[in-house]
């Protein structure tokens, strides 16, 4: 008999590869949306630039998009989605430049070659009447037009550059002018000309990479002679990796890197480590970090031996099912916190900062203690039912044997959908 379903069934190797790529794409998509939003917030600061403000200079503007470049500017798009210019605000870069009584936030619009099209004072902490004087002085306001950002950034003497202060509002107009030059310098070639940052590599980086290599050794070399050292390695991860290095992979670290820049120069060892922690399970299906290196995982492995298995209560399948939603739900909390810029220290929802003993907050200590206590009764309780980072690492892991679309894959899609929706909302929706 002809089996139609079998005819449409993908060969399992293709299916497996497809699912692996799917998971990677989900992770990349989430990273992209979080990053886009963070760029937008950075470019807009506390008072986002609206399209209306830009239309005063470029009437065909319909959309503003964060470029994420060094300039921290917004790209202006027309209704065909063609880039027609850039918008930027002087605050917070100009917050130290005070006129009579406070700094001003200046909107700067350029064409796509970074040639100034106009400026406007968006808001000001300065004396309102002086600000009005500057705003109505067309000569001062138009003086900037046609200059490139590089030329503006290079101004060191206002009168030499043909920019004269406004009579009766000298200090306010000068502060506005210096705010513009200050903003033009952000991410410009003037900054690039200075000596670039130096690569740093110290003993901490070496130690982290050593732990990674040893973890891989234990994961891939199953010889008895080597494996008998595993308990010692496990204790070393707790004492050295956990309590001394304190660089555990955590949401606070990951989201910080995604939102801002990855500190390539200053934390190369940690970056390589984190990259490998995600890449190795994706390529090989071996959860090297969770299985061998994570101090909190290892501590739970020791603690689950405290009470004999016979005397431990068993969780029902249904309870396990319900609790397994907690880690992805916490990832949703992480996303909402990042998009909303909420006053929540992400370190406090995971136990990893507790290893920094003196610097640890009460939240992280509580999560650590409760998780460890639970693991004496329910083996690896925190790993299984509480760890968002572990969930993410497991999500990208290549499955051994056959692979199929699972509940975790659906939840990953839901996380991506949430990130997408949040990234489409205007910043005003987040009270930013």
């Amino acid at each position: 008999m002809f089996d139609r379903r079998a005819a449409f069934r993908l060969p399992s190797r293709i299916k497996k590869t497809f699912l692996q790529l799917y998971r990677l794409a989900i992770l990349a998509g989430i990273v992209l949306f979080v990053r886009q939003h963070a760029d937008r917030v950075r470019a807009d600061g506390d008072w986002p630039i609206s399209v209306n403000e830009v239309q005063a200079f470029l009437p065909e503007a319909t959309t503003l998009r964060a470029t994420g470049d060094q300039r921290n500017s917004l790209e202006i798009l027309d209704n065909q989605r063609n880039a027609i210019g850039f918008a930027m605000r002087s605050m917070p870069y100009s917050k130290e430049i005070v006129g009579y009584s406070g700094p001003s936030d200046v909107l700067m619009i350029t064409d796509k070659d970074e040639r100034m099209l106009g400026i406007a004072i968006r808001s000001s902490y300065d004396t309102p009447s002086h600000v009005e004087d500057v705003e109505i002085d067309r000569r001062f306001m138009k003086r900037w037009n046609e200059r490139t950002l590089t030329e503006v950034a290079a101004i060191t003497d206002l009168s030499d550059a043909g920019i004269y202060s406004v009579a009766g509002a000298t200090r306010t107009s000068e502060a506005v002018a210096w705010s513009i030059t200050e903003r033009a310098q952000v991410g410009g070639s003037a900054g690039a000309a200075t000596a670039g940052p130096k690569w740093q590599w110290d003993w901490r980086d070496t130690a982290m990479i050593s732990f990674l290599l040893l973890g891989c050794l234990f994961a891939f070399q199953k010889g008895k002679r080597l494996q008998k050292w595993r308990p010692l390695f496990s204790i070393a991860t707790i004492l050295i990796f956990g309590l001394l290095l304190t660089d555990l992979v955590a949401q606070s670290l990951l989201i910080g890197w995604v939102e801002s820049r990855v500190p390539w120069y200053s934390a190369l060892g940690t970056i390589l480590f984190v990259f490998a922690v995600f890449a190795i399970p994706w390529f090989t299906s071996q959860p090297v970090y969770c299985q061998f290196i994570c101090p909190h995982g290892n501590l739970q492995r020791w603690l689950m031996k405290v009470i004999p298995a016979k005397r431990k209560p068993r969780l029902g399948e249904g309870t396990k099912w319900a609790l397994s939603f907690l880690p992805p739900l916490l990832l949703m909390v992480v996303l909402l916190t990042s998009f909303w810029q909420l006053e929540l220290d992400l370190a406090s929802i995971e136990p990893f900062d507790a290893y920094a003993l003196r610097a640890a907050g009460i939240g992280t200590i509580l999560v650590a203690i409760v998780g460890l206590a639970a693991s004496t009764i329910i083996p690896m309780a925190y790993c299984k039912y509480g760890c968002p980072t572990g969930w993410l690492l497991d999500f990208v892991r290549k499955r051994s044997g056959k692979d199929r679309f699972s509940l975790a894959d659906g939840l990953g899609l839901a996380l991506l959908g949430l990130a997408f929706l949040l990234s489409r909302l205007p910043l005003s929706a987040f009270a930013i």
């Binding site: 406070g102 808001s123 902490y125 004396t127 909390v333 909303w340």
Partner: protein, 137 residues
């Protein structure tokens, strides 16, 4: 029996979602309050600057936010419709004291500081002044 167990698991899941959801809502309300407080300080600061232009000095003595707002409103330097962010948007003029805003100046009224504090804990949230903290960003 099995159905009862199933219901229990769903209840556990819904409970987790509800708890985390309530936590997020609580945090987002804080964020909203924060934004309202900042915009209130900015509005008051503009009123104070207008006063300075008219009188060549800032309001002459330190006072509570309500007194400052009343003073500026009476002089027409602030609008009547200023809402109190800590009292669900009620007008400041109708708000009970103490409120979260305080105004400080020196004896010559040459400087000013507008300080927002949490009305419950007294923690300083924002300080906008004419010397060290000229902006909220």
């Amino acid at each position: 029996m099995k159905r009862k167990k199933k219901a229990k698991n769903w209840l556990l899941l819904i409970g987790m979602i509800a708890t985390l959801g309530a936590w997020m809502i609580h945090l987002s309300q804080d964020r909203l309050l924060d934004q309202r407080v900042r915009s209130l300080i900015l509005t008051i600061q503009q009123g104070v600057q207008r006063y300075h232009v008219a009188e060549e000095a800032y309001p002459p003595k330190s006072m509570s936010g309500i007194d400052l707002i009343k003073l500026l409103q009476e002089r027409g330097e602030l609008s009547d419709a200023l809402a109190n962010p800590w009292a669900s948007g009620a007008r400041f003029s109708e708000s009970p004291t103490p409120n979260g805003i305080a105004y400080e100046t020196d004896i010559f009224a040459e400087s000013f500081a507008i300080i927002a504090t949490d009305p419950e804990t007294g923690d300083v949230l924002y300080r906008l002044d004419s010397s060290e903290n000229p902006s909220l960003e």
